[in-house]
Symmetry: C2
Subunit: 336 residues, 2 copies
């Protein structure tokens, strides 16, 4: 490369941009299906139902224990596509780079994206890069958009949840949010706390194999478990009760939440999946989840009841019940 840092000219559409694409992006992604000379990538798909999901990642800082914005950008969108039951196949990537970004930081991010894409089994097929002046971004913002194929006959929907259904969670809450905020603020709650960012498409597929009558999946990212469950309750016109003692949370995450005044149910996760399944399928779904990658700590955490519609409760260790509210106001900006 001609420069160790990103220049405005790298976004010009001219010859420097061409070199950035060839020497950094193509080399970094190393995906033979990446289309570099055409404005659109093309690929064959079987006919049927297609899932499309998009997310822009603005996490600050760019690097944190266990991951970085690149891993997040691939896993987050893979997981959003997977929530529909679709098999994620292709990703597009749009970068907004800030003038002055070290090219080595970009290479590191691309390497993480490549690793996460390989793990998920998706191909990065097309991309775009813009450069903004120093001070007008935060190093890198990344948009990823994912395309997946929904298996024939499958139609998952939060609206399908019924009283008696069971709520599963694939692992411990809050790891991502607490890791990012403690890195950003220079807090050290623990030396081994790290983001949970991970692709969960294989886990979702495994649950659907064992429990094909699953109602819906949600990944509890921004707004945490509280937003995910309130949306499900709201869409299906049901109530959900979560048993607090059954929700896996790491001790250091609980401690950090107490210290910072956060509700762990509202903290973001990037490698966790919520599933709602009929009671009859709960054990099969749970053991499939536990056998799947990133699901070893999965638990049945609650159940769907009839009323009051659109409300989520937490049953505490002392048997009391309180409402699990959605986040009001702002807690953790720039978390993903």
């Amino acid at each position: 490369m001609d420069s160790d840092t990103i220049l405005l000219a790298h976004g010009s559409g001219g010859s420097l941009m061409r070199r950035l694409i060839d020497e950094v992006f193509v080399a970094g992604f190393g995906d033979s299906q990446l289309s570099v000379t055409d404005d659109a990538a093309t690929f064959e798909l079987p006919g049927g139902r297609i899932a499309l999901s998009t997310d822009t990642y603005v996490v600050s800082p760019l690097f944190f224990p266990g991951g970085d914005i690149g891993r997040l950008a691939v896993c987050g969108t893979v997981n959003d596509v997977a929530t529909s039951g679709a098999r994620p196949l292709y990703l597009s990537v749009g970068f907004v780079l800030e003038e002055g970004l070290p090219v080595d930081d970009l290479r590191r991010i691309l390497h993480s994206m490549r690793e996460a894409a390989e793990e998920a089994g998706v191909h990065i097929v097309t991309g775009d890069t813009k450069v903004v002046e120093r001070g007008h971004g935060d190093g890198v913002y990344i948009n990823t958009t994912g395309v997946g194929v929904v298996p024939e006959g499958l139609s998952l929907s939060a609206a399908a949840c019924r009283p008696g259904d069971v709520v599963l969670l694939s692992g411990s809450l809050g790891d991502h949010g607490i890791t990012v905020v403690s890195t950003r603020e220079g807090l050290e709650f623990s030396t081994d706390l790290r983001t949970d960012a991970a692709p969960l498409n294989h886990l979702v597929a495994a649950v659907l194999d064992s429990a094909p009558d699953a109602r819906c999946f949600r990944d509890p990212t921004r707004g945490g478990l509280a937003s995910a469950l309130n949306e499900i309750a709201d869409t299906s016109g049901t109530s959900i009760t979560v048993d607090e003692t059954r929700v896996p949370v790491r001790e250091q995450v609980l401690g950090a939440c107490e210290m910072l005044g956060y509700d762990v149910f509202q903290v973001a996760n990037e490698g966790k999946m919520v599933a709602v399944v009929p009671a009859d399928s709960a054990e099969a779904a749970l053991s499939a989840m536990r056998r799947a990658p990133y699901g070893e700590d999965a638990a049945i955490i609650g159940e769907v009841t009839e009323a009051p519609a659109g409300t989520v409760y937490v049953r505490t260790a002392f048997g009391a019940a309180r409402v699990m509210d959605m986040l009001v106001g702002e807690q953790l900006p720039r978390i993903c």
Copy 2:
């Protein structure tokens, strides 16, 4: 809405974000196919070849004569999908909003996106919104990703261009770039200069109807006609010669380029299409282009020759030939 400006809490994943989505985005897009309660949108597609294209828009200022970042974000991606010959059908939209953005500005942008999407005949089916702190963005950055279906049997590629082929351009060069830079810098070259941002998918379809053996399409955006033609020459191992006298350019654009020291062939366009077709099909393609929306000023501007491979020439009014170079360095940042 609870606030006249965007707050960090609007990106929290909590209840304020829910209200922003319901009251501003859903109301603004007004597309019944917009998925608002699921992380992924799903839709039926016929089997076959799918085109996927992504672009992030960081244009500054957000509003300029004839358009805004919203119109740009829809048209740009529609056109990128259309260059593959695909029929664009669905768009995803990812916003990065800056804290403090007036909500009315956002509404105006959404309105432009809706109008452009309706004109192009595409549906905005899924979206995402992030909010960054004041000073870390520029009001709005927008990513759009487009999905289209390639007609069966069609396979366009720059690599297919052959000596003897003819190069068409759908209208005048440089309108977008000069409009944006003159708005930004407070220069007034002309009162009637405006962006050309427009969806060209219907124009591409019309050309393909009349000239089904067309080789390839390119929209000459960043880097202008020079980047588009150099890429074609490079990919196909041919040479291209453009006849300067046949290239439509508005007088005020030429004047601005002279004053600012720009090469009009390197200035960005957002509503122009380049087509390469076999000589036998040139007249049919030209009249189809001229009858299509936004193609009334279309012209045959050049031809493909054998050598030297990968080089583009301009034949001037005096009969001399000079190389049409790709932009080196940086000319107009934040143009799209």
